[in-house]
Subunit: 177 residues, 2 copies
Amino acid sequence: MQRIATSGLVLASLLFGISTVADARRPVSDVSRVYGVKLPQGYRDWKLISVAHEAGRNNDIRAILGNETAVKALREGKRPFPDGAILVRLAWRFESSSRNDSVFPAPQSFVAGEPVNVQVSVKDSKRYAASGGWGYGQFENGVANQDAALTKACFACHARLDALDSKADLVFTHYSQ
Amino acid sequence: MQRIATSGLVLASLLFGISTVADARRPVSDVSRVYGVKLPQGYRDWKLISVAHEAGRNNDIRAILGNETAVKALREGKRPFPDGAILVRLAWRFESSSRNDSVFPAPQSFVAGEPVNVQVSVKDSKRYAASGGWGYGQFENGVANQDAALTKACFACHARLDALDSKADLVFTHYSQ
């Protein structure tokens, strides 16, 4: 069945162009549900926007990186973000470091452990008009989470920020100098 | 007095070359005590190595960035770091975010507040042979801290790591995927 489906995609690619060939080779799980967001190439090398710690159930430490369009908008205080802005939030387990604590004067050091997930927000005011101009995706080990309810929850949560801070353009993070 | 000292430096620059003119214009506080380390140009745009939280007296949340040489060595697990590697640790106040907490399901969110300081480690095995090949500097608001004892404490603390983990080349941070 998988083979037939793939063959169908390859046939479609022959009919509709080379870009479809590339898509046929890419597993469906590269793309988030609902929004069709992909993990941007080279995102791990993007510029740092800020860092944060989520306690409780999350128990992670995180970094928020952005592409050039996003970082420029943040630095210039430009809102709403222009189309093409992409924010990537990387989270790792929040772990006490006994190694560092044995050197430091007191038990105090918490570091990034194993990766938890990567969340991506893509600004496209037309494509994502129904979700405030943002498309979302969550990735674990480079694979898009295929839980549609989880993916929809991204916007539901970001939308709650709008009532509180309508100038934030649904983005929690501030740029840290 | 300042004017006389500056004139002396300008005179020295005329005698010893153009690079000294640039140095004469640069306030002494651009350079760390003991090691003569400067805040590297463009460091804020460098690639992210990892993140951490120091509780207790520090009470900060931090990001460690690196230049190309440092990041390459970390990704390849190369130790000791090659000469030219530079690590920059940016720390911000660790602050509870009531804004985020009012959106999230529970009080859990801690973010980066005001900048605390920036610490720089520069690898130069010849120049800094007496301190394990590393030169250090701490900067507040872009200005080098002029407390020699504080600057010396950088190496004293990093050196303690060596007894525990001699393969770390005096660097606490691991690269976070």
